[in-house]
């Protein structure tokens, strides 16, 4: 009896406690839109020297050699340690950095880069054209196994007629020279030789950037210290510490507690309204050059008919998808180029505004008749059932899939969302190619409008297995002329065809969201990444002078 009485009492207490917690008032997310901000013009304040800037990264770095890493975490650190000849700054404008200027010959086959004089490596020695030549030749060497080798492949000869001039010769005009080659970070020839090769570079990186390498503790942090002789001017911060915090909620908590100052990766969409109103933070939003898309595998028989693809496009409510899932992180896309591409954007391409009736008519015309009993369309006795591949664990893409699934059901198409691990998804998209029907994924494109790799049948990726000889021809021509106006003619037509053929249903272009502790000033919106202008960031709580 005594046993039962105590046991029941304890269990009852626990149940009451759990119910109380479960029914407890939760902090409700704000339902009203943020008040329109009309901030006063910031007063002129002199930037201060000093301070440690802690960056919350989603992962540890993989490689501090800039042409051996492909992940974002490494690229941010490498961009700060190393500098290239050119960077896309100030709204995607190619800006001379270690190059003073560049020019190309009338036939477009010879590029000449004039280098700035007096740039120093972190060991105090001078940067010269020999370092550029060494870097490019190392990348091209198959033993290096660099993925950037393809970017340099059109370059057939690298010459250095004097210590401050680099001449690159190609067999055909290479319009993407600045984007693909000019932006390659440069490594120091004598340093690589001194440390015995690139295998040891991960522990001993050396560059010309505003911050130099101090230490790395694997899986924990990378520490950079200020390089006082940086050629664009002495940076303000004393130190930058990159800390790897894989769990997104912990990353946000680290910023909330002040243990980290900058998160440039995956700020949760639902937190953005709150963060914009929080004086503790500065939220930077930058339109990027990438696109989220709903891809249709053109190898599949049902997608070979353009009417079917257009029906899918009309049945995809992009406006609603962006409104519900990417209010602060996306703008509706109708083609492959976001407005970040400036004059290259063709504003006169076909739009597929949400229209289920038009979608139904197109499917009827393509021979897909609705079975009234099942509600699913059929052709030659086969029901219209497709799967939609999304990355495992990616809630955003799964939710997009669910919204599209609902719309397609209304026009008689049965779409099932299936998760696949990223490596398997990559394999399916680029290797096996025939074991998926549709996919929802994001593609990051570079600032140059050359989409050869993405859409050309020989480009390597060939998105959605789309094969259009005219598009191939336009992409070939677009990358082989150097005159921007002529390139625009080719790319305008490419955008027009891509929109009408709609093998790829463009959903939205990303708005990159950076979350910065508001005590740090000087960071501006940079579509190609804030790491490029990190030398301008300063700590308002610092007390040092130059």
């Amino acid at each position: 009896m005594k046993r039962s009485k105590w046991f029941v009492l304890v269990v009852a207490m626990v149940i009451v406690a759990m119910v109380s917690v479960g029914c407890g008032q939760q902090a409700a997310p704000p339902k009203t839109e943020p008040k329109p901000a009309t901030p006063p013009a910031p007063p002129k304040v002199e930037a201060k020297y000093g301070g440690t800037f802690i960056v919350a990264q989603y992962s540890d770095i993989t490689n501090l050699c800039p042409f051996l890493s492909t992940d974002g975490a490494s690229n941010v650190v490498n961009t700060i340690i190393h500098r290239p000849l050119v960077q896309y700054r100030y709204n995607n404008v190619p800006t001379p950095v270690m190059a003073e200027s560049w020019s190309f010959s009338p036939d477009g086959l010879t590029w000449t880069f004039k280098l700035r004089k007096g740039i120093k490596w972190h060991d105090g020695t001078e940067f010269t054209a020999e370092d550029v030549k060494f870097t490019y030749e190392t990348i091209l060497d198959p033993k290096t196994k660099s993925v950037r080798a393809a970017d340099l492949a059109p370059v057939k000869k690298i010459e250095t007629p004097d210590p401050y001039t680099v001449v690159l010769t190609t067999e055909k005009p290479y319009a993407a020279m600045i984007d693909k080659v000019g932006t390659l970070p440069i490594v120091c020839k004598h340093h690589v030789e001194k440390i015995g090769g690139l295998d040891n570079y991960n522990k001993n990186p050396l560059g010309t950037g505003p911050f130099k390498f101090k230490e790395r503790v694997p899986e924990e942090k990378v520490v950079l210290t200020r390089f006082d002789d940086y050629f664009e001017g002495k940076p303000y911060l004393d130190e930058i510490v990159f800390k790897a915090i894989p769990e997104p909620s912990v990353r946000m908590m680290a910023l909330d507690s002040g243990e980290a100052h900058w998160n440039w990766w995956a700020v949760p969409e639902e937190d953005i309204p709150r963060l914009k109103q929080d004086p503790k933070f500065t939220v930077l939003q930058t339109l990027r050059t990438d696109f989220h898309f709903f891809g249709l595998n053109c190898q599949k028989p049902f997608f070979k008919d353009v009417r079917v693809r257009q029906a899918f496009a009309y049945a995809t409510d992009k406006v609603s998808i962006v409104k519900n899932l990417a209010t602060y992180t996306g703008v509706v896309a109708h083609g492959p180029y976001s407005d970040a591409y400036g004059d290259y954007v063709n504003k006169n391409i076909m739009h597929f505004d949400y229209n289920l009736d038009t979608a139904r008519k197109l499917l009827d015309g393509a021979g897909w008749k609705l079975n009234e009993k099942t509600g699913i369309r059929e052709k030659d006795g086969k029901p219209f059932k497709v799967d939609c591949m999304v990355q495992q664990g990616d809630e955003l893409r799964k939710n997009i899939g669910v919204l599209i699934q609902k719309s397609l059901k209304e026009i008689g198409v049965d779409l099932q969302v299936r998760e696949r691990e990223w490596s398997a998804e990559l394999d399916a998209l680029t290797k096996t190619r025939d074991n998926w029907d549709t996919v929802i994924v994001q593609f990051g494109a570079s600032p140059d409008p050359d989409h050869y790799t993405i859409f050309h049948t020989k480009g390597g990726f060939d998105l959605d297995n789309y094969a259009n000889p005219r598009v191939d021809e336009l992409l070939d021509k677009g990358r082989s002329v150097l005159d921007p106006k002529q390139r625009k003619v080719y790319y305008d037509e490419y955008q027009k065809i891509a929109a009408e053929d709609v093998a790829t249903i463009f959903l939205w272009h990303s708005i990159g969201v950076n979350l910065l502790n508001s005590r740090f000033k000087g960071m501006t919106n940079e579509p190609a990444g804030q790491a490029q202008i990190i030398h301008k960031v300063w700590d308002s709580q610092a007390t040092g002078t130059k």
Partner: protein
């Protein structure tokens, strides 16, 4: 059989066990869909670049040739290079292992410090209020996912109260939350086992005899009962060590703890084959040795045990 002979025999058998583990981990990771070369090369690399990287890394060889090539090197403790970082796998593991060992030891010590006394008390005061409370706490502890507990601990004790850091390493304060998150479910299971084991020992004749002889209760419990109750507890401790090692993978990710667990997870997703093989093999070695230590401990706890 002497203790030395027993240990030698177990070590000899362990070689074949580890060989089996190496075949399994080598095969399973290659069965998983996804091409490691594509992951390294990136989404938009042209085919010729991808194939050149494949050849340089030896992935163009037949699978059995790749295995033997790796095995011959592994015997010399050369586990190859990371596909992503190009560092030696052995150096990567050595750099991160101390952090994992420290966290696991602290979590384990915490689990033992809580579970053994609580388990003994629960058994001695069976059906009391504290015994029932302990039962419920143990049930909650076993049921609660470690990653959830970790996030809740960070939210309340780090962010809201500011008592401990949110993430990372550095001071003794950094150990508290992750070791509690890691040790909680271990403590719960160990507590229940300790309670059952002590209860069973308490009802034995030799305990009645000891009490009848007029021995102090403290002597009855700690000299007579615990020694006999400890055998199952030691067995469970050995098994729990394996769970601890695997559970720390998730806790290390939550708390940004720089251990081999995080390394293994990251490398699994990026198909960094050689690193995954190295860390799994290392974990297998640690579990084999942990079980060997448990078996050897039996001899000291119970002289009646003979290994034939």
């Amino acid at each position: 059989m002497t203790l030395g002979e027993f240990i030698s025999r177990r070590l000899f058998v362990s070689i074949f066990l580890l060989l089996g583990v190496s075949v399994i981990v080598f095969g399973v990771i290659r069965l998983a869909p996804g091409d490691p070369v594509l992951v390294v090369a990136g989404l938009d690399s042209p085919p010729e670049v991808v194939e050149s990287i494949r050849k340089e890394w030896g992935f163009d060889l037949p699978v059995y040739a790749q295995y033997f090539r790796w095995l011959v090197r592994a015997v010399r403790l050369d586990f190859g290079q990371s596909l992503m970082t190009r560092e030696k796998v052995s150096e990567m593991i050595i750099a991160r292992l101390p952090a994992s060992i420290k966290l696991n030891l602290v979590a384990y010590a915490l689990a033992l410090a809580i579970s053994i006394p609580m388990g003994i008390y629960s058994a001695l005061k069976q059906y009391s209020l504290l015994d029932h409370l302990g039962t419920v706490v143990a049930l909650v502890g076993v049921s609660m996912p470690g990653f959830w507990l970790g996030l809740i601990l960070i939210l309340y004790f780090a962010l809201y109260l500011g008592w401990f850091p949110v993430f990372g390493v550095g001071t003794w304060k950094h150990y508290v939350l992750p070791s509690v998150a890691l040790g909680a479910s271990q403590a719960a299971g160990l507590m229940r086992m300790t309670r059952s084991s002590v209860l069973e020992a308490m009802n034995q004749d030799y305990i009645r005899t000891a009490r009848a002889k007029g021995l102090a209760e403290r002597v009855v419990i700690f000299k007579h009962m615990l020694k006999n109750a400890s055998l199952p507890i030691v067995t469970i401790m050995g098994m729990r060590l394996a769970y601890l090692l695997s559970g720390s993978f998730i806790i290390e990710t939550i708390f940004a703890w720089p251990g081999i667990g995080r390394l293994a997870i990251n490398c699994l997703y990026s198909r960094d084959y050689f690193v995954v093989q190295g860390t799994v093999l290392l974990t297998a070695v640690m579990i084999v040795f942990a079980n060997l230590i448990v078996d050897v401990t039996y001899c000291f706890l119970d002289p009646r045990i003979r290994y034939q």
